[in-house]
């Protein structure tokens, strides 16, 4: 199945699941009709609840589901639709109260009926969960603690919502209908069991060993692991994997990193890791020989996924990492297509992999354009940011029809996006990879 067909297939399945409660509530024994706004409010509640349950499946990293879109898009959708789902759930009581202000007392979290209390607390739990996610970095909430809290609160909220539905006992007066709703939630919650128990158990059979940690410039490390008694991991250049360190693959501490090595070496895998947080800050001090586990490969940012006459790569800072893998793979394959790499960073001293890139220039039809924000005094290259002017000077006319791959921090992506638009690069030829996956 090609990616478009597979993408369409999973989209249809997704819509069927999300809308199924509305369908089931209309077949078989149906309770008496109620005013439009009451039914609309209840319908939003059902859709919102199933959507929140489906969130568990979205984050379970099922490769069959994520492959057509790329897991980065799935996780982004997880965040977007979470906001929408909570909005739908919030609309449920608000519409009821607007329609009938006499029900205002039911919003009292310690008053009202048992059903309304369960519903209120489910909603508050969802809102707390969302707030913790939005403000996690601002309140310096530990990433691992947040992940555990996130899953726990989601679980509690879904259970409370089901209690609310059961006690409200309108559509669920027909037991099989509530059975269907509970079934959907249980299947979705099983994804959590898959992600946290089954998948790690499978990873246990495929351990890696930390083989080399090499300091690059710009607080960046080349972190290499080798497969222990198995064939390693086949990946496409540009993809990434979640890295876990230590003897137990069941740890919740795991972080996604892009491969920086050649895809032709599946047993020896290298990641480019920049010191940015608690985990990456100590990456240079990990003892050689430490056991590691990899959940991957993931991602749909790869030159291998579509044909191209040549490439234009745009890297910002540590966004160079996936391009290192692409360039190394293309070099190992003896690829003759023209490539231009625009590589922007703060300063020359902060620019990683310059020696390796110089070697790759010899093996490929590769032109590298460094763009430094704070260039040294004797710098005769480009300075500032990758903008329309830089593209005008270094992207040849024929280069416009190449595949354009962009990876870096958000502002860099926006700036390059505008520059490409000004250079009249067709949008169908541009692919972005955003940071901040988690």
């Amino acid at each position: 199945m090609n990616r478009t067909v597979a993408g369409g297939f999973w989209l249809i399945i997704y819509l069927i699941v999300i809308l199924s409660p509305l369908f089931f509530m209309m077949i078989g024994d149906t309770p008496p009709e109620r005013p439009f706004w009451v039914e609309f409010s209840v319908g939003l509640g059902f859709v919102g609840l199933v959507q929140t349950a489906v969130q568990f499946a979205l984050i379970a990293r099922y490769k069959t589901i994520t492959a057509p879109y790329g897991i980065d898009l799935i996780l982004k959708y997880h965040r977007q639709i979470a906001t929408i789902a909570i909005g739908l759930l919030l609309a449920h009581p608000v519409i009821l109260v607007i329609h009938n202000p006499g029900l205002l007392g039911l919003l009292n979290p310690v008053g009202g009926t048992m059903a309304s209390r369960a519903g209120n607390w489910a909603l508050y739990t969802f809102i707390l969960l969302a707030l913790l996610s939005y403000f996690r970095k601002r309140i310096n909430l530990d990433y691992e603690l947040w992940r555990v809290t996130h899953a726990g609160l989601a679980l509690i909220a879904v259970v409370l919502a089901h209690v609310h539905i059961r006690l409200s006992a309108y559509y669920t007066e027909t037991p099989w209908k509530h059975g269907v709703l509970i079934g959907i939630s249980v299947v979705m919650l099983a994804s959590l069991v898959y992600l946290r128990l089954i998948k790690p158990a499978l990873l246990k059979r495929r351990p890696y060993r930390v083989a080399e940690i090499k300091a690059e410039r710009g607080d960046t490390w080349s972190f290499t692991v080798t497969a222990r008694d198995h064939e390693g991991m086949r990946f496409r250049p540009g993809q990434f994997a979640w890295l876990k360190l230590g003897e137990s693959p069941f740890t919740v501490e795991e972080h996604p990193f892009s491969f920086s090595s050649s895809a032709l070496e599946p047993k020896r895998l290298e990641f480019g890791i920049k010191e940015l947080g608690d985990f990456t800050g100590g990456i240079g001090q990990v003892p050689i020989g430490t056991t590691a586990y990899l959940d991957g490969p993931h991602g749909a940012f790869s030159p291998d996924l579509e044909p191209a006459a040549g490439y234009a790569f745009y890297a910002g800072g540590v966004g160079i990492t996936p391009f290192m893998s692409m360039l190394r793979t293309l070099a190992d394959r003896g690829d003759k297509r023209p490539i231009v790499l625009f590589y922007g960073d703060k300063s020359w001293d902060a620019t990683a992999f310059t020696d390796a890139l110089a070697e790759l220039e010899k093996r490929l039809d590769l032109t590298i354009v460094y763009v430094l924000e704070e260039p040294p005094e004797d710098w005769d290259g480009e300075s500032g940011f990758i903008d329309a002017g830089v593209l005008e000077r270094h992207l040849p006319e024929e280069g416009i029809e190449r595949l354009h791959l962009v990876c870096g921090p958000e502002p860099m992506l926006d700036a390059v996006g505008k520059a490409l638009e000004q250079r009249e690069v067709p949008i169908r030829l541009i692919r972005f990879e955003r940071f901040g996956l988690v």
Partner: protein, 173 residues
């Protein structure tokens, strides 16, 4: 490009969910069903008129609009109605609300019932009658139950109770 399309798709999907829900609500509010609809409407009883006042339609309308969101069936109401002080308690409950502990099926629950004093006397009398005779509740009523009339509601309005006071006046069952 993937991200641009993905953003548009997310908004489109959200809009689709709301539209589908609105369609569901419209169909359901029209009494629509996709397969078989069991007529769950209360049975017609001999109590449909009280002193010549036809309350039935009003009672159903008020119940559907204002009660059904929380109550599907209220089968313990005849027991309250026949208990000492229960008849006036039910009027006070719908007029002034309830805030306190309620023992239902043997278990105590904290309940905050809204007040419906904004409804007119006919609506409240009708909805109380509706509850008293629906879901086979009529079988539990005494032979001549003296169902509610709008005048009874009007008289009770002067009591001006608070929801906590109503809770204290609830008969023990």
């Amino acid at each position: 490009m993937r991200h641009i399309y993905a953003n548009r798709a997310a908004y489109l999907l959200a809009a689709l969910l709301v539209v589908a829900t609105a369609l569901f609500a419209w169909l359901r509010s029209e009494g629509g069903t996709l397969v078989a609809l069991d007529d769950d409407a209360p049975e017609v009883t001999e109590f449909d008129e009280v002193n010549g006042w036809a309350w039935r339609e009003t009672g159903e309308q008020v119940f559907v609009a204002d009660c059904q969101g929380c109550h599907v069936r209220l089968t313990h109401t005849p027991e309250l109605f026949t208990a000492e002080g229960g008849r006036s308690y039910l009027i006070e409950l719908v007029l002034f609300g309830f805030d306190g502990e309620m023992v239902i099926d043997g278990s105590a629950r904290q309940v905050d019932h809204p007040a419906f004093a904004g409804h007119d006397d006919e609506q409240l009398a009708a909805v109380l009658n509706h509850v008293l005779v629906s879901w086979n509740n009529a079988d539990e009523l005494p032979e001549d139950p003296d169902l509610y009339l709008p005048d009874y509601i009007d008289e009770a309005r002067d009591r001006e109770l608070g929801p906590e006071e109503v809770a204290e006046r609830r008969p023990s069952l």
